[in-house]
Symmetry: C2
Subunit: 492 residues, 2 copies
Amino acid sequence: MMMSSSAQDTAEVETLTASIKAKGDEIRSLKEGGADKESLGPTIAELVALKADFERVTGSPFDTPKKTKAKKTAPADDKKGGNASKADQQASRRITPRAENFSQWYLDIIAASEMTENSPTKGCMVIRPWGMAIWDAFKDDMDKRIKTYDVDNAYFPLLIPQSFLTKEAEHVDGFAKECAVVTHHRLCKSDDGTLIPDPEAKLEEPLVVRPTSETVIWTMYRKWIDSYRDLPLKLNQWANVVRWEMRTRPLLRSAEFLWQEGHTAHATKEEALSCAQEMLVEYSTACRETLALPTVMGVKSPKERFAGADETYTIEALMQNGWALQSGTSHFLGQNFARAFEVYYQTPDEKRELVWATSWGVTTRLMGAMVMTHSDDFGLRLPPAVAPKQVVIVPITKGPGEDTDLVNKAVDGVVDQLKAAGVRVKVDERPNMRPGAKYFQWEAKGVPLPVELGPKNPKAGVAIVLKKKGGGGRQSFHSDRREFRVLHRATA
Amino acid sequence: MMMSSSAQDTAEVETLTASIKAKGDEIRSLKEGGADKESLGPTIAELVALKADFERVTGSPFDTPKKTKAKKTAPADDKKGGNASKADQQASRRITPRAENFSQWYLDIIAASEMTENSPTKGCMVIRPWGMAIWDAFKDDMDKRIKTYDVDNAYFPLLIPQSFLTKEAEHVDGFAKECAVVTHHRLCKSDDGTLIPDPEAKLEEPLVVRPTSETVIWTMYRKWIDSYRDLPLKLNQWANVVRWEMRTRPLLRSAEFLWQEGHTAHATKEEALSCAQEMLVEYSTACRETLALPTVMGVKSPKERFAGADETYTIEALMQNGWALQSGTSHFLGQNFARAFEVYYQTPDEKRELVWATSWGVTTRLMGAMVMTHSDDFGLRLPPAVAPKQVVIVPITKGPGEDTDLVNKAVDGVVDQLKAAGVRVKVDERPNMRPGAKYFQWEAKGVPLPVELGPKNPKAGVAIVLKKKGGGGRQSFHSDRREFRVLHRATA
């Protein structure tokens, strides 16, 4: 429901590519014709604008030269090499500065923070624990919000009969074209011993992996809705969906992503319209309160509307480089799906009417928006509400001794206090890894408050050190009660 | 991971069907030959045993006569008929007694409780809100338990390149045969205007909808594991999986189901073995504490083992009719996947070793086990820990008046007290529905404590009525504080 159709994008990209090339040719021929810099100005400005459009649509700069892979400053990733763990290598990964290349910076932040990784299935991502914990925290919060609107969770099948996609005319144009199609239900060995789809297990009707669930849900709504007393019917599902994508980008655009899809049926147009608008406002509030993501609410133009909707509302977030990123949508579906799937209800005075509908969703893309809103050249920055760890303590010790005992005791004390206050705290006790590398890594992963805790000197007790990002300075506190309160407040 | 392969089942069912038919023929010919009842005894016992085997394997009795659909006592489901809502119709649905037909009783319980419903996609279920809330409650509890073992959640792609399934020899035999195969990434219009898989969008390599995720996870583990310091690596995923099934049964056996799959990698055999065993014990505890499901822990025979495992541990639950139902499995995978996917780690003394592995899962099938353990001829019975509503109050009022005010005030008071105590309570205020029908419905849905609250007489105040199941008697309490405490205790 959220992304505009790829077909439309593809056409746009092709047009833009052609225009950029034409504009380049024009400039070259003007130059060859002896035009001076001043007279070229407007044409160059047009080229720049076209390239900006291209980057907005595709998420990548036009014709970026390919990066060499040798970005690591750590020893090469050689299985026979030194005993560096993956964590060590991770810690020393360099992040391209935003000013140098915004798109590469984004990819580097995702990699350095270990949120997601490309999977062996082209176009599909692996969500690693750090990214998963962020999504789960957002999901838990969003789920509670959705339930306050008397919406119940349910689950509908992943695979949808192909014919269902054809029932609502606009819907088929929007989705049928780019989706994964299941045609067989078995593999078998071929003559050369490799596996192939078993010709004898061909499905009578192909199944489509859901790109969104309107069609299957409306088939069920037809069974469940008879009377005005069965309305409103408000269901939500947390699920995975697949929309085939040629150009993918971690979190922002991938063939499979995770989302929440709400689907409601109402007796009146007014009720459906206000449900669609209400959910948009709730998305905006959730984004602000959990992801610290300010968004602008608006309405999509007819061309950008969801396939099958009468009106599509959207929240758009503003990225650091000026991009506006669609971050959630809510659709007023009118009676389109009710008509296509013949969902009528009987009014109190026994008339037969079509029901009115909405659907609305937010996806794992929101994590991409969060990255581009808050991160910096040292790594991800996480809002405390969704940070898997809000405080990470790196103890500074030098083997057994009085100092180490002092530090360990202080660490235990801080952890107890923070846990009691409900703060998600972790102590990084990995042996064989330098404290600096640990600190660097937690900073890249966006922990709101990574701190070092070590002996200042044996007499003076224990110091909490808050470093400036990127190792550019430090501030020490004594670990007496007042300073712990500072630490605690800083994470609230 | 959990269900045994369908291929194996299919063969077994065919063998059993043939044996049952042969045994039937044998008995008939013995009868025709004049054999008396006594001499037939052993042969009949053999037939009964074969039929019991058939029912155990398929979940359905052998050759059950087809039920007529006319089971409703309510007015027929006619869109032009009376103004009965779906809820009214639901409330009056009859449940086949267990003693009459256990398999039909199970189907009736699922339908009457509105846990799941067949979907338009053959073999796939819709999980309705009541079933979803039960699964979500179990899932939340299980997720917390899993995390106490330092297991992180992650997400791996739904679609797996076909070639991955071939890497581990036993695994391919176990899973490649019955799974959904994606061969195209686009639909297009055919000459006659219908949609077909676009011949130009045929995938170079087919993708399989995950039947389990070992293969794709081990591909990632190869990237993530280098050193002993990267171990143990313990990940879990909550996901949907697809295993093609010809004969399905709500919750117990369906083409798509929901589950949790844990996948761990360890430096030593001992550690992996104890992880696999530890998780089995945790499953057993979770089943007992949340679903009130006692299970027996055991080891599968080599024939029943998970495809690719060295050892499969299982918990089996005992159903009311004597069936043992596999309710969760934990696999010690040895070094099989590490070998197939070349996952080595460097030991502290710089040797290169294969890692050791486990995987373990529980599925939505557990809800089926819960149904068959606790329900009765009046409906589902839900353990309070997972009941979406623990108390439902049906107010008994007769339009505006002093009595109604009294009842409403009493309802508010009970609700406040129960909510304050953390009890999930609902007031069923549906107009135009008889209290008896409401009560009947909540009983069928398995609410631990459905109660009626109405005026005893205007002077005596308000009475709480606890009826016996199936309308077989009632017990009234006064709504003074002592009785509220009784109500409260009853739900704790």
